[in-house]
């Protein structure tokens, strides 16, 4: 087994995704503690240009699997490409982002390699020679600390927006190594036939520093405009509790909570949300929580950093104005 820390680079539109920089940041810290180096694996079609970004953000070596067959992610194609690389060099640890494709790929890869896998990691640390991960379980009512056995291949799937991204240094040196992409018999059995972009005016929820979220207290789809206006002023993403999704006011990908997304923003502004445990499951990891609710007894206030007991229809426009004023002052 080598001492290297590997990351799987996720990318879109020819650039690494934000999660990739976060993985590189974590990998650098671990590799420095281990006295080893960081290898980034980039798979795709026409991905050669990624190497410069990955190198500048902490990769010492970039393994490039460049083939038309990898142009679109499928579990079959990516497992076939990645498994032999990992099996041949046996890195100390492989980090994969907890994204739609990362969650799809990592367990399959672990099953093929007989690797230890820990998903949903909110922390990954060295404890002597052990790798210890912390992950929320039981709808965030508990944190589990788990350790990989010493002699296994380790795959950690890490939550987005938790680890600070690696710093950029365009002068760093790194090597690029093209790797063979096996011809893959699975191509016939799984094929992406279409990807329909979902119109979202803002940053993806799981990557957002600030989230403005609305619940049943919004009363109807039209009132989400109030949230979008505040979100625009803040540069935030808009999310929701479950009732607005179930009522069809907003699409399913807005939902935050046990059956929706888990988010870790710096700031979460909950408007007209009561604070049910299933909602808290998705957002109580936010660093700062603001709750706006006209019921002073609402449970959301128990997790709120700042609470306003008041009518959101009155508060939100005022808040949007105040934020705009602040932003204008900050600009000027």
């Amino acid at each position: 087994m080598s001492r290297e820390v590997w990351i799987l680079a996720e990318h879109a539109g020819g650039r690494p995704r934000k999660i990739t920089y976060e993985l590189l940041g974590k990998a650098r810290a671990l590799a420095e503690a281990l006295g080893s180096r960081v290898t980034a694996v980039a798979l795709g079609s026409g991905v050669g240009a990624l190497a410069a970004d990955l190198g500048a953000h902490g990769a010492d070596r970039v393994l490039l699997g460049d083939a038309p067959a990898l142009g679109q992610y499928t579990a079959d194609a990516y497992t076939a490409a990645l498994a032999p690389l990992v099996a041949a060099e046996r890195p100390f640890l492989l980090l994969i982002g907890s994204t739609a494709s990362g969650r799809d790929l990592a367990p399959r890869l672990a099953a093929r390699l007989g690797a230890g896998i820990v998903t949903d990691c909110a922390a990954v640390d060295l404890d002597g020679e052990d790798v210890v991960a912390t992950r929320p379980v039981m709808t965030r009512k508990a944190l589990a600390r788990v350790a990989f056995q010493a002699d296994v291949l380790r795959i950690a799937v890490v939550l987005p927006h938790i680890f600070p991204p690696a710093a950029e240094d365009r002068a760093r040196s790194y090597e690029t190594v093209p790797v063979p992409v096996p011809v893959e018999r699975g191509a016939a059995r799984a094929r992406v036939v279409d990807v329909t972009p979902v119109a979202r005016e803002s940053v993806p929820l799981t990557e957002a520093d600030i989230i403005v979220s609305g619940g049943r207290g919004l009363r109807g789809p039209e009132n989400f405009a109030l949230l979008h206006r505040l979100a625009d002023a803040l540069g935030a993403a808009v999310g929701s509790s479950r009732p607005p999704v179930d009522s069809g006011w907003v699409p399913h990908d807005y939902e935050i909570g046990q059956t929706g997304k888990t988010v870790n923003p710096q700031l979460y502004i909950a408007c007209g949300i009561s604070g049910a445990p299933q909602h808290l499951a998705g957002m109580s990891g936010a660093r700062c929580i603001v709750a706006i609710n006209r019921d002073p007894q609402a449970p959301i206030f128990q997790v709120a950093t700042y609470g306003i007991a008041g009518d959101l229809f009155q508060i939100l426009p005022l808040l949007t104005e105040e934020v705009r004023r602040l932003k204008a002052a900050q600009q000027g």
Binding site: T79, A142, R189, V303, T305, E322
Partner: protein
Amino acid sequence: MHVVVCVKQVPDTEAPIRIRPDGQGVDESGLTFVMNYYDEHAVEEAIRIKERAGGTVTLIAAGPARAAEALRAGLAMGADQAIHIQDPALDGLDHLALARVLTAAIASVPYDLVLCGKLATDDNAAVIGPALAEFLDLPQATAVTRLELGDGTATAHREVEGGVEVLEISLPAVVTVERNINEPRYPSLPGIMRAKRTPITVKTIADLGVDLGGSGAARVRLLGLAPPPARPPGRMLEGEPAEVVRELVRLLREEARVL
């Protein structure tokens, strides 16, 4: 179309939990257990497929004696038969070893499609589905929001970052389901009566002919569960709305430093 659904029994997410003093699990006394939320959607999808295309729905659960209740609940919804893997050795298995055991159980019945939940709400792993696909050597589609079956193929919709992916897979396949794929039915009274009469096949790991050998040793181990860190006490802001809003923005900027 023969559909196998893997169902897990988990603590009801509504209930508060008490972490055991040894940190190795939760205190089960007084705790209500239910079928994993996403698995209800998987059972519903399987029954809808049977209603449209004929065939059978087989449920498989691995777990202690109480897990039979989750199987009964699925039978009451309309599944045809159920296999309960019950073995003291289940306790020490990691997800991949458990997937080996489930694989053997699935292989013991006819199947064109294996359905799982997107994840189990107790351990949040989302590992079993893709692991089954690997061990059964099948294509996979995870966190599926819509599933259409064709002739020897299936079309699955999945939410990906910034879009919806449409994936075509050949059958048999393993599919894990997202909650908005359907609305699970409530069991009917006749369904509940029938479920009570339907025998559940109980099997041990040895019955399934699985020899976990070296691969039975857990590759990851739980060091302990702890409650999440308490949030520092918050503050209610009081006064006229305009005043409160000004104070909030000031605090966000100067105290919380998030603006």
